[in-house]
Amino acid sequence: MDLKTKALTKSIWVFHFAAASCNNCDIEILDALTPKFDLERFGILLVGSIRHADVILATGAISHKAAVRLKRLYEQAPQPCLVVAVGSCACSMCIFRDSYNMAGPFDGLVPVHAYIPGCPPKPEAIIMGVVKLIKALRKG
């Protein structure tokens, strides 16, 4: 493992992308970033600008309008940038599958590197997902 990968896994700045979800996953993501779980221990920070992001935390079932914005955001992010789908809607569309206004699951639009199922997933599950992502990155 070279220094570049090690630095990336030790300092993950996340960008929160909420695509028309019911807001529950977003609340759980914010919970995961509170002092109780203290993700800064692992160097994980929430950033506001996509240009600073290493990981996009994407939630919600994606509509045709949000799909355009997701693709643009992914193109704006500096590489290497990873995408994590948080929640059942983001992973598999959940109850919105086959809806007339849905643009398809996340992995049909941008490459997704980790899936965190749950409706909504607990903060512990989100941290677990990020840890698995870091382990996969270290293996290469």
Binding site: L3, K4, K6, A7, L8, K10, S11, P35, D38, E40, R41, G43, V47, G48, S49, R51, H52, D54, Q76, P78, Q79, P80
Partner: protein, 309 residues
């Protein structure tokens, strides 16, 4: 020639200041975490952040001016390096001072803010322009009381504007903080320092909850790393400047070195505590605060210094 290069690149200059800057920013984050009852990041965290940013892709926005956008972080970094070199050389050997180096240092301390303004305007992003214009207003607001506060010791020392002579004056007599005028000027300078470092309650230019990251919004990769490094170095350089001006600097002999470092740590803890116990001000409130109460306080300090109190 080789000695000068060594001064600028290795010892009091770039490498030394950058390393201490990384350490100091870790202390800042760790103490903040402890205040919020958290564990906080490991000691190498700023180093990992810096290396990671160097390894990321650099994007220059199409709407902006690419050359200005990419070069602006270098101005800030160079200015912080030069200030640190001047301050430490003067502390190690006070006879290395030159006429008016105090004025040079005051000018150079403004340049990191100006590099942020240039970078923000060059990025062609409306939020970055908004942040840069706020930064410009902040510079206009805090410079007046800051310069008045810095000139109070100069008046007390009968018009010495060499940093080395100011230090020797303090070592021969007492430090400027021991007098009423010096104390008032020191309080004003601490609050102006908070604004100079763009920390809460004066982090108005990059208010991440309203204008995301302000001037930094379009930066990614290596230029962002340089901007961050400049900020961390300033967290070391600006308090050091106040230590030299008001608290007699660091005397390099025996126990005095430890005592000098303690002075800096005291200032750092004050900065961190102010940062953790205050909400953010609006830009108009900040300007009113600096041009009103702070300037009046600084003028009182100057008058007291003229009276010799």
């Amino acid at each position: 020639m080789a000695k000068t290069l060594f001064y600028f690149i290795v010892f009091p200059g770039f490498l030394f200041t950058a390393l201490i800057g990384l350490l100091v920013s870790w202390i800042d984050r760790k103490v903040t975490a402890r205040v919020q009852w958290r564990v906080g990041p490991p000691i190498l965290q700023p180093f990992y952040d810096f290396v990671k940013l160097l390894g990321k892709e650099t994007i220059a926005p199409q709407a902006g001016s690419k050359l200005t956008f990419l070069f602006s972080p270098i101005f800030g970094l160079a200015a912080a390096t030069v200030v640190s070199t001047i301050l430490w050389l003067v502390m190690i050997s006070p006879e290395k001072t030159f006429l008016g180096d105090l004025i040079v240092v005051i000018y150079l301390l403004t340049i990191p803010s100006i590099s942020i303004i240039i970078g923000g305007f060059a990025s062609g992003n409306p939020l970055a322009s908004l942040g840069a214009s706020r930064e410009m207003k902040m510079v206009l607001a805090y410079e007046l009381p800051f310069i008045l506060a810095v000139f109070t010791p100069v008046i007390k020392a009968q018009g010495i504007i060499r940093l080395g002579d100011l230090l020797q004056y303090q070592w021969a007599n007492s430090i400027f903080l021991n007098s009423w005028s010096g104390f008032i000027a020191f309080v004003v300078a601490i609050i102006c320092m908070q604004a100079k470092l763009a920390l809460v309650p004066f982090d108005i230019p990059e208010a991440e909850t309203e204008i995301i990251a302000g001037p930094y919004i379009e930066y990614s990769g290596a230029p962002l790393a340089l901007h961050k490094l400049t900020r961390w170095m300033m967290l070391f350089v600006v308090p050091m400047f106040l230590v030299v001006m008001f608290m007699g600097g660091i005397l390099f002999s025996g126990w005095h070195i430890l005592w000098g470092i303690l002075k800096y740590v005291l200032l750092l803890v004050i900065i961190i505590l102010i940062r953790n116990t205050n909400p953010r001000l609006r830009i108009d409130q900040a300007i009113k605060f600096f041009w009103g109460p702070m300037t009046i306080l600084a003028v009182i300090g100057v008058i007291l210094a003229f009276l010799g109190i």
